[in-house]
Amino acid sequence: MNSDHTTNRISDLLRLAGFKDKHTVEELTDHYLSHIENEVKLGVNSQQAVRETFQDIANLDSSQFKVKKNLPANRWILLCVFLLTTLGFFFLQSNSTKEKLNTPSNTPTPLALQINNEPPNGAPILQNTLDITSDFGMRMHPYTKSRKHHRGIDIRAKIGTPVIATGTGKVIETGFKKKPGKYIIIQHEEGFTTKFYHLSEIAVEENEEIKKGQIIGKVGNSGLSMMPHLHYEILKDEIPVNPKEYLEP
């Protein structure tokens, strides 16, 4: 187990799961690393322990971790006064500033070192096994029922499963369109491009340089999609190639 990479990835996954507080991320990172160490001590294969832990984190609900506190009555009054003052202030300011929407608050840190120039490879989601529900090539479209060339593969996964970059590169496009739903397109070296469709969340920005293994978003069911899954494409010089041939790292 490469502990630095595992540590970084755990912290990253926690932030993606909605944990904003630095101290909580630090504490939970120690929790999960302790768990991995314990599993390995019990004889579990370290890679498997790491993978299963990542999956556990991806399924975490950060809202459970909020400490609820009953405010005494005088604090409520103070809070109301504060809110009213703040609202008034923003009301006065609102015409003079226009905030840019959709600016992610934290950009995931690079997760793994890799040799540049290698084609994108490995699994595009953090999941133990890949359940490919639709292969590359000619197929009947599940939605439109027409026979069409499928430009990628569909991998079934739960909504929220982390989607990761399969190679170092640059995000050239993100957004939402009717068919792909929320999508990300990444350009890699040697004329390779990867595309990720039907996401529920996008965690990167256009023009962002990313590293292989970095979490770029979450699996979803957006766009023309019958069930939660990731549509994953690899293109070489603009021509779609079979991603299945690149799934092994």
Binding site: S3, T7, E26, E27, D30, L60, F65, K66, K69
Partner: protein, 110 residues
């Protein structure tokens, strides 16, 4: 495990306080493991249960925490605040008494 969850709702605070009082400082994962071992895998505390409890008890002043570097990372240890030991003891005793009463009430002979 659902029934355990139901019962833990009102008792987890006290269980954590008792573990910390009797074992000295402990960190979150250690508390989960200790509980699991002591109950023969019957009570499995989740992260979503243990950490909010620890954080709340710390906010209330019954616990305090220290940080230490372990294996290159930061570990947060919790301790019972000795200035609150009376209250901690009283909470533990009350729960122990309640459990005793439950045992009497749930006796099959009754």
């Amino acid at each position: 495990m659902d029934s355990n969850k139901k019962f833990l709702n009102g008792t987890l605070n006290t269980i954590v306080l008792a573990l910390l009082r009797d074992n000295g400082r402990m960190y979150g994962y250690e508390i989960c493991q200790k509980t699991k071992e002591a109950t023969n895998n019957q009570i499995n505390l989740t992260e979503g249960a243990i950490y909010p409890t620890l954080h709340r008890l710390e906010k209330e002043g019954l616990l305090f925490s220290t940080k230490e570097k372990v294996n290159g990372r930061v570990r947060k240890y919790y301790h019972v605040n000795q200035s609150s030991i009376k209250e901690v003891n009283s909470q533990i005793n009350l729960l122990a008494q309640f459990v005793g009463n439950l045992r009497t009430l749930l006796k099959p002979s009754l």
